[in-house]
């Protein structure tokens, strides 16, 4: 399918929010990278849509922010910390562990 070569993939939260991010950014997350691996014949790699059943929309938005933050500062020496609201820290911790990022 055309989706496997598209530069954008869709991340879907458990409450139905869809985030369209670039494939480079999405592949920062280890779990998503394996999902989208073209050599694996996972359904996600064919359709380009990853449903993340344990992450809700608010947290996934922050995760997407991090993916681009990582991509942006990849080669920098002095990386500024990303702001994380304290009420999200525990959920983000679990999401990060799940996504291996």
């Amino acid at each position: 399918m055309a989706a496997s070569s598209s530069p954008y993939v869709t991340l879907i939260s458990n409450d139905g929010f869809e985030f369209i991010v670039s494939r480079d950014a999405a592949c920062v997350a280890g779990t998503v990278k394996k999902m989208l691996d073209p050599h694996s014949s996972f359904a996600e790699s064919i359709s380009g849509r990853c449903t993340l059943g344990t992450i809700n929309g608010v947290v996934l938005e922050k995760v997407c922010e991090y993916l681009y933050y990582n991509l942006k500062h990849k080669d920098e020496k002095d990386v500024p910390d990303m702001e994380i609201p304290p009420e999200l820290c525990l959920e983000l911790l679990m999401a990060a562990d799940y996504l291996h990022v």
Binding site: V63, Y66, Y69, N70, H73, K74, D75, E76, K77, D78, V79, D81, M82, I84, P85, P86, L88, C89, L90, L92, L93, M94, A95, A96, D97, L99, H100, V101
Partner: protein
Amino acid sequence: MASPTREDLDLGSSNKGSTPSEPLDSITSATTFDLFSDFEESAQSFGELTLPELPSFTASTVNKKRDRDEYLASSSDAPLFSSDDLPASSAENYYGPRVKRQHRRPWYETDESWNTVTLPSSTKKPRMRGPFKRTHDSGVWLGSDASTENEDNDRQDAVRRVLRVMESGGSIDGDEELWHEDERELDLGDKVHSPCTQTLEEKLQQALVNRALQITEDPGGFEGPVFPYWQKQPGHLMGFHLVQQQAQKKVTLCVEQGGEAIDLSTMYMQQVRTPTLRPLRYHTRIVPKQGKGNRYQSLTPALRLYLSNNLLEEVPGEVFHLKNLEVLSLRSNNLTEILPTIGELNNLKELNLGSNQLNWLPWELLSLLHANLQKCMIYPNPFIRPVPSTWNHASSRELKSGEPCQQVASTRIAFLDITGASLRHWPPAPSSLPEHWPEPQADDEFLGPPPEERTKTPSLLELALRACKKSPQLSQLPFLIPQDCPEHLTQLLQTTWKLKEAGGKSCSVCGHEYIIPRTEWIEWWYCIPDQGFRGQLDNMLALHKMPVPLLRRGCSWACWEEDASPLIRGWSSATLPGGLKEERHVHGDVRTSPTRRTIPPSGRIRQ
């Protein structure tokens, strides 16, 4: 004959200073004349009888009366402004400030009281303040008359109350009943009333010391914490142990008396609670009274903390906050790791880490040696040893004491994944045995991460943990994680919590604060200064010559010393330089660095 007498009488009965009106004067003099003319006649009839003696008027009394009368006669409203043209406001009519309360009663209630009850100021008695009553001798009431005295009384009352509560053994803010035991007069309370040399504050201090002494003598008698900030500590952290109580008492005693040596040795403690050591943060030196020696002395104490001969498995986090620590003894414990935060204790002069289970020391110890550390005892400990034939003396720097400090060898770098676990196929690192350290193999996966992944960007897990560390509810967070979550998250949160108690650690390469290490390796250094073993046993001397393994940790995969392990640079290519494999077998796993440059003295060591 009688005329002078008559004149005197006239003088006495009329107003002298004021200008008397004419008719009144004439009437008065006429009547008196009539009176005395009769009297004179009768006196003449009795022969040479003279008049009865006149009451003796002293000059002062006469003046007083006159002043008062004149004052009353000319009393009028006080001028509001100095520019008022009223005659009363002129300087002639000014009688000076009135002396209030010189008489106990108003003048009209007593005949001669104004003469006798004037109190000399030197023998002033405390006034009894009754309900306010308007008296006629004063038109103005000044409410602030005795207010300062009152304040002083209140203050004394407060101190007295504290003393009383402490005497009865309660806590200061806790027992409500004790506050109302005002009727019970204690010895101390009575002494307060009597004039003595000791001030109340000194008494309070003495009572505090007595209290502390009583606590140490009688371990059962200590019912609760003395200071309120201990009560605010969460109670569920660790069980309240008898040993902990005793430790707390010792610390309390030191803080109260201003002692600088805190001896908590041989108490069989497995851990020291944070609130036990917390008062030491606010420890100030007690400076001797003025007049004795130098008046200007530092209030910063030079603390000496002895935690030797216990069962500690980790250094209490609170220790790292005691920046005034000069001597720290952790000898004979079960320590397996010293946190790199110890590098923050810049005033440390003496450190004893002997008889523990340490396989390595933190690399930050070097910065301590650069600062003030003069005596550092680290043996015996099961340190990892490099293979002696591979030592290299290329990298060196000088310590403050002038002794050389040389790096002689290092292991290769272990890369850890985002949770701090070692990568696949690698044993849990760091391991105590050199042969367990990761070896480069033909398979790429063992050669560490590919170069494009060696970024300094922190992982999201790390960022989330940093956010958790800032959260005030960090101690509760492990309980908020759902049950089905992986266990290592709970462990990570607990590690974060311990780190927060100790004050956090920073990367040994870039200096950033971090929580999960991503790289780690061990360097062997000749760095421990002379321990005074010279001239003693030979094996001691041999121990002294051993290089010390120092563990370095980096916060990201990009954080490793360029020249820490030159082999790492060859790793990006899949093929290894020839002969390395054999060398590895010969020398174990310790990699030497034949081309290592000398690190400049300013180096990477944080001051």
